[in-house]
Amino acid sequence: MENKTLSLDEQFQNRIDNGDNIEAKDWMPEKYRKTHIRQISQHGHSEIIGMLPEGNWITRTPTLRRKVALLAKVQDEAGHGLYLYSAAETLGISREELNEQLNSGRAKYSSIFNYPTVSWADMGAVGWLVDGAAIINQVMLTKTSYGPYARAMVRICKEESFHQRQGYEIMLSLCNGTEVQKAMAQDALNRWWWPSMMMFGPRDEDSPNTEQSMKWKIKKKTNDELRQQFVDQTVPQAEILGITIPDKDLKWNEERGHYDFGVIDWEEFWNVVKGNGLMNDKRLKDRNEAWDEGKWVRDAASAYADKQATKRAKKTA
């Protein structure tokens, strides 16, 4: 028995090493399945919760053009949530379970969405920094070993890179505008910079799952490598905008060929992860209210569908 299991595991690992995609019906180690359910559903939950901070500004956009773009963006996020939930479902978890895990607070989602969106410039900063950081993670995931997840990521990445450009373009308009607008942009950067840096997760030495994830190609680079890539990519963009990243230790390191940067406040990171951010309670409350208040609607839809099915059955009988 022991030998057979081992050999299945080895065969499985060989497939991954050869660059094969693992599909829903293929044999997979239980841990692989569980890890993927957790990661894909967390990712899906992040898209769903991510609708709320941006949805917060839909009624207050400064122009009609911005309103249409923001509506479309939040709608894209709902769509991403749907693909990801569908990808998770292929591994044997239901939509009801996914919902329950999110609404009960048992499942995690990206902590970045527990920060508030307090000004219009936040719609720019979220697109530029948060979507920018997300893309760095997601581009890597287009090559991940689990087929349904990798394919969902290809589509999501295309839309996300559009969102990032849209966010950056909002920042550009503000920075090319009046002093008041530029100050609004600087304030948003001040608030979103460090939380965006935290999006890549704990330092490598505090990230025990990284090794297994690399083996399964859920990850191809470590948290710290991805974070460095984000900094290197973002600093020149901030220079073009003419606003200042709030890190006094940020400077180009000729020897490394990378920017050095300051120390992340990990206490804040863990506090928000554990539910003590400014918006954690509100985000979950909003989700739960929408779900609970929607129950009679969902019940009605299934009752109606049953009635229609009965009518059709009678007709054909």
Binding site: P62, L71, Q75, G177, Q181, R298, A300, K307
Partner: protein, 251 residues
């Protein structure tokens, strides 16, 4: 003079879509399920797309510094030409659907007339919008049936929403001077002609959904001439916030 009349007619058309789109925008992320959330956001997106077309045309007519945004966001409350119906709040999903259905059936009828308008811009906008609004009618009609003929609870909620909102429906068909001009000049829809078709369609669908139109309704009129409900000030407070707080800036 002619330009002013056409401008006012564009406001009638655009304001209904805009205020309804704004109401739907409030719901984003709060729908009863993900698919419905996406659909409502999509309808809002369609409506705002149409508003942009109407107000870009209006801005051209007005000339000077006018833009789609100054027309959308920098008027005073009494200058908005939307009906009471679209100002009504998102009380619950049944109200959202009843409001949408009462508007969609009207909207579809009006657009079909605008497709034959003597004004080419209106024809172009209507041709583009009708495809979207056909879907809106489909969406809200389906939900009226699901909720009306779903469970006891949903039936009761849907009937309450119909009873509450029906009183705002006939304002859609009470032509203002601008709308009378539009009908007579062949630019816009003849609302008198459309009203019986509307009543027939709405009644037929409600019947299919096991719902009833309330009897002896006292209809409410006034918003289209600028006398809005208490809702409107709050809608505009959010809608105009950025333009009022940070005037004369580019975004």
């Amino acid at each position: 003079m002619l330009q002013e009349k056409l401008y006012n007619y564009l406001l009638h058309l655009g304001d209904n879509s805009m205020i309804l789109g704004q109401r739907l925008g409030e719901l984003c992320g709060h729908g009863p399920e993900l698919e419905t959330d996406i659909a409502l956001t999509n309808i809002s997106l369609d409506l705002f797309g149409q508003v942009r077309n109407y107000f870009q045309a209006a801005a051209q007519l007005k000339g000077g510094d006018a833009t789609e945004d100054s027309i959308a966001m920098l008027r005073y409350e009494h200058e908005y030409r939307n009906t009471y119906l679209v100002e009504q709040p998102n009380e619950d999903f049944a109200h959202v659907i009843a409001r949408q259905f009462f508007f969609d059936v009207y909207h579809q009828l009006v657009l079909r007339e605008l497709m034959k308008s003597k004004n080419e811009t209106l024809v172009a906008i209507a041709n583009k919008s009708i495809k979207e609004v056909d879907y809106h009618v489909d969406f809200s009609s389906t939900w009226i049936k699901r909720l009306g003929d779903g469970t006891e609870v949903s039936h009761a909620k849907m009937q309450t929403a119909v009873d509450t909102l029906w009183r705002y429906s006939m304002e859609l068909f009470k032509a203002t001077d601008t709308e009378i001009w539009a009908a007579e000049s062949g630019v816009g829809a003849d609302l008198d002609k459309l009203k019986p078709i509307y009543l027939e369609r709405v009644s037929a669908l409600l019947e299919e959904a096991t719902l009833q139109l309330p009897e002896n309704t006292v209809f409410q009129y006034g918003a289209k001439t600028g006398m809005h409900s208490e809702n409107m000030g709050f809608i505009l407070a959010e809608f105009q916030y950025m333009q009022r707080a940070y005037p004369n800036m580019k975004w």
